[in-house]
């Protein structure tokens, strides 16, 4: 599609939702991007105003609007705080799809999304190969957070320090699982998500250890794929639906009470976003997606609210100070804030200390981090400062994407602070 009229017409579909924005400007108070740039086009109401104007053909430069639209972490802070209840995330996601359909997907993204993500086997193979050969190209920048910096010049990576790919992905150890219900009488489908699988396999191992300890049966199907959010955030709804279909197929053969994931972003995507993007699919498929969405739960919430975990063992008190960063997708989209803290506090060998602005986005935002690293870094630096002000030895969180960002920011600001998933700390208390 290349017709501006058509673009405008498609955007008009969002008009009923956009008109609910009364331009009160209260989103300025919470938007991390606006806090850095203080420009109206970078905050929600500005983006909505621009989309409205594109829809009404008052603005004709779709590229500029697209660029503004992408200067957004999709963190949902504005949606969670919008007094008028504007469905901001739905508007932004759908607008990205509409504008991308108009502009066409970039070659790189086409290659990654359509050529790689939709072929999990190829994706796994390539990342494994890269893990083997990444050694010479990276150097460890900070022992504590495990971040590496790039030894070679790479324009996309720049000064970042980043997590190296794990030597052995999680799925290599657990290609599939189907264990019966144990003492808990419960069984879950486990969805590790790509980042845990390929970068933080230890989080997957921690999850398995905890579930087994609490007598929870596990169904881990062989052929699960990425949850799709990177593709949707880039406006590629076709690949998004394709990936969703692969996952639905993988999970429909198992019996389970809940689907749990250790990744805040995956949880929010499966629980909330999947169903919103399949208007044109048939009813049978919709029912299948809805059924999975209804069962999907953050693993911290599952452990605390459903399994009802208690501190598994008495550990010696004191020791390291741990603080907790609320991943946006857990706190703002799903309202999960108390459960991860409860898990952290239950490991008595750590001392829990709340940081300032724990609920403020870390600035990662998926590909936002790639394309707007300067902004992402500024937002992340404030997070790192808050972690340090809390006097933390360990920064814990519930989203592997946040773990990547925290590692980078803490490494760059001097290192010395470990970054861990809540599950790792809880699993440590299980003997």
């Amino acid at each position: 599609m290349n017709d501006l009229k058509q673009l405008a017409q498609n955007l008009m579909e969002l008009d009923d939702q956009m008109v609910a924005c009364m331009k009160c400007g209260m989103c300025q108070a919470v938007c991390p991007v606006f806090a850095e740039t203080m420009q109206e086009a970078d905050v929600t109401r500005g983006k909505i105003a621009l989309l409205e104007k594109l829809a009404h053909e008052m603005v004709r430069d779709a590229d500029q609007v697209n660029e503004k639209l992408n200067r957004c972490l999709l963190c949902g802070s504005c949606a969670a705080n919008c007094p008028s209840g504007v469905k901001i995330m739905d508007i932004f996601m759908k607008a990205r799809v509409i504008v991308t359909t108009y502009k066409g997907l970039s070659q790189t993204k086409k290659m990654i999304f359509k050529g790689l993500l939709t072929r999990p086997k190829l994706f796994n193979f390539l990342t494994e190969m890269s893990a083997k050969f990444q050694g010479p190209f990276t150097k460890v920048a900070d022992q504590a957070s495990g971040a590496s910096s790039c030894a070679m010049l790479n324009p996309l990576i720049g000064e970042r320090t980043f997590m190296p790919l794990a030597k052995r992905p999680f799925r290599k150890d657990y290609p599939q699982l189907d264990t019966p219900r144990g003492t808990s009488g419960l069984k879950v489908a486990f969805y590790p998500g790509c980042v845990v699988d390929k970068m933080f396999p230890q989080v997957g191992h921690a999850a398995i250890k905890i579930l087994e300890y609490h007598g929870v049966g596990i169904f881990l199907p062989k052929a699960q794929a990425c949850c799709g959010i990177p593709t949707l955030a880039s406006g590629d709804s076709d690949t998004f639906v394709d990936l969703m279909k692969q996952n639905v197929k993988a999970f429909e053969n198992g019996t389970f009470d809940y689907l749990v994931t250790p990744c805040a972003t995956c949880t929010a995507t499966i629980h909330e976003t999947w169903i919103k993007m399949i208007d044109t699919e048939d009813a049978v498929f919709k029912d299948k997606v809805q059924a999975i969405a209804d069962k999907t739960m953050d693993i911290n919430a599952f452990l605390v609210d459903v399994v009802g975990v208690k501190a598994p063992s008495e550990l010696s008190k004191g020791g390291k100070v741990v603080t907790y960063h609320d991943p946006c997708h857990l706190s703002k989209s799903l309202g999960v804030t108390a459960q991860p803290r409860a898990l952290l506090k239950s490991n008595q060998s750590y001392e829990f200390k709340e940081m300032n602005e724990a609920n403020r986005c870390c600035g990662c935002g998926g590909s936002f981090n790639l394309y707007h690293y300067d902004l992402s870094k500024k937002i992340g630096e404030r997070k790192a400062e808050n972690v340090r002000d809390a006097g933390a030895d360990v920064a814990a969180t519930g989203c592997p994407a946040c773990m990547m960002q925290l590692s980078d920011m803490l490494a760059q600001s001097g290192g010395g602070v470990e970054v861990k998933h809540v599950l790792e700390i809880y699993a440590d208390s299980i003997k």
Partner: protein
């Protein structure tokens, strides 16, 4: 000069990063929180320090470029809708608190400091800045001064004008004008800062503002009185004032507002009540106990079905959060919310409420009303869809009539939201032709070319 050339000239003052001229950026500054048609400026200028303000106004004046200053753009009367082809000047980056003087109880701020952040900073020093507009989480002090913003505490503590001790501002020639001082008393010359308050960017551009601070009250008590009848609630407001009790806050919410606010804030408001009053008394602990008791008695006497006191700080905060979100929460009801702030003497609130009820019936419109009842400052809010032309026409008629009723009750067009573009055509009706002429002569003397925010307050 062409826009490109002008942009270059501005860049000499503020640097290349301080000038925006892309279509998308310009459109992002074409609107504010008012329900009015947007207008696209030619350039948006973002200075990085207050010294740049003078050269900017001068360049605009020399080139006949209309100049609209913008803080957070949350005003509700179109004060920041730019002149097409003009310049928008952003002050939100000028946000340093230059001084907080604990001994002499004042602070000096740049105009872009966010109100709530300022209040929090002075509170950390054990001081109090009372003006708290509902938009305080984002609105700027410059914007507050230019609109003479009020807030929930206006009844006892007054509004922004009561806290402006002085200021520096740039005139249209780029000259720095100084008014007021750091002393409580200052009668040197004309009260120019008084003139600047509520000037809505039409007389000068504020750079530094000197604000009065006060000691915080030692104690306070917040209460909620629930009514099954709107008239009883408004009579209670009049009775509290008539009994010479001055709560710091006395707010009114009608049933529609209560329902939408509760839906958003989950503060535990009684959604079946016809009206509630949120009342807070503060001051010396003994006085607070005494006043609270009197308030409860008055509420009960007139017929409140319940009076509940907030027992904890959280409960109190929940009430105020609920109230502060009244407007945006009402906006959930329908696509468009037309909010008015016609204000009447407090004793006339029951009459005003009766008038509003009639207007809603006559024009078949959904009107939710809330507001600073203690000040007589009500916010009848018409819930509509401005895409529906026929309905919106009825809205405009209703708004006319709301002003007529308010003026007939010896009230005013605006208690706090300013005149901007939205109400300039009613100015003569409230005041007089001579008053308007006087204002026009003053504006002409200060800004002969009509550069500073043209079209606002006095029209033209």
């Amino acid at each position: 000069m062409s826009n490109a050339k002008l942009a270059k000239e501005f860049e000499k003052i503020v640097g290349a990063g301080g000038v925006m001229h892309e279509e998308a950026d310009l459109h992002a500054y074409s609107y504010d929180s008012a329900v009015l048609d947007p207008q696209v400026p030619a350039l948006v200028i973002k200075p990085s320090n207050t010294e740049q303000l003078g050269p900017i106004t001068k360049l605009c004046n020399d080139n006949g470029l209309p100049l609209t200053v913008r803080g957070a753009g949350t005003n509700l009367s179109g004060g920041t809708i730019p002149h097409p082809g003009g310049v928008v000047l952003l002050t939100n980056g000028l946000n340093k608190i230059l001084e907080i003087n604990e001994e002499d109880l004042y602070a000096v701020v740049e105009p872009g400091v966010v109100t709530a952040q300022f209040a929090a900073k002075v509170a950390q020093r054990g001081l109090f800045y009372p003006p708290d507009p509902g938009s305080q989480a984002v609105s700027t002090l410059g914007g507050n001064v230019a609109e003479n913003a009020g807030g929930l505490r206006g009844l006892k503590y007054g509004v922004t004008k009561d806290y402006v001790m002085g200021m520096d501002f740039y005139d249209v020639n780029g000259d720095l004008i100084k008014s007021g001082s750091r002393t409580v008393k200052c009668v040197t010359g004309y009260n120019l800062s008084g003139l600047m308050v509520a000037s809505e960017g039409t007389l000068g551009v504020f750079s530094n503002i000197i604000l009065k601070l006060v000691p915080p009250p030692k104690a306070s008590k917040a209460m909620m009185a629930v009514f099954d009848d709107v008239q009883k609630a408004s009579e209670t407001v009049a009775a509290i004032i008539a009994n010479h009790i001055v709560p710091c806050t006395l707010e009114f919410l009608d049933n529609a507002t209560i329902r939408y606010v509760e839906d958003y804030t989950k503060a535990g408001l009684p959604t079946d009540a016809e009206a509630i009053l949120l009342i807070e008394v503060d001051g010396h602990p003994a006085e607070v106990i005494d006043d609270a008791e009197k308030v409860v008695n008055i509420c009960n006497k007139i017929g409140a079905i319940a009076v509940q006191a907030a027992e904890t700080a959280e409960e109190r905060e929940a009430l105020w959060t609920a109230r502060r979100n009244a407007l945006p929460a009402l906006a959930r009801a329908k696509p468009t919310t037309v909010l008015e702030d016609a204000t009447v003497p407090r004793s006339q609130i029951p009459a005003m409420m009766a008038g509003l009820k009639k207007i809603a019936e006559k024009y078949k419109l959904d009107i939710g009303t809330f507001g600073h009842a203690g000040d007589g400052n009500l916010h009848p809010t018409i819930l509509c869809d401005n895409r529906n032309k026929e309905e919106f026409h009825r809205v405009e008629e209703a708004v006319n009539e709301i002003f007529d009723v308010a003026l007939s009750l010896k009230g005013t067009l605006s208690g706090e939201h300013g005149i901007g573009m939205a109400k300039s055509k009613w100015m003569e009706k409230e005041t007089s032709r001579a008053t308007l002429d006087y204002s026009l002569r003053m504006k002409k003397a200060i800004d002969p070319k009509g550069i500073l925010n043209p079209g606002k307050i006095i029209g033209g």
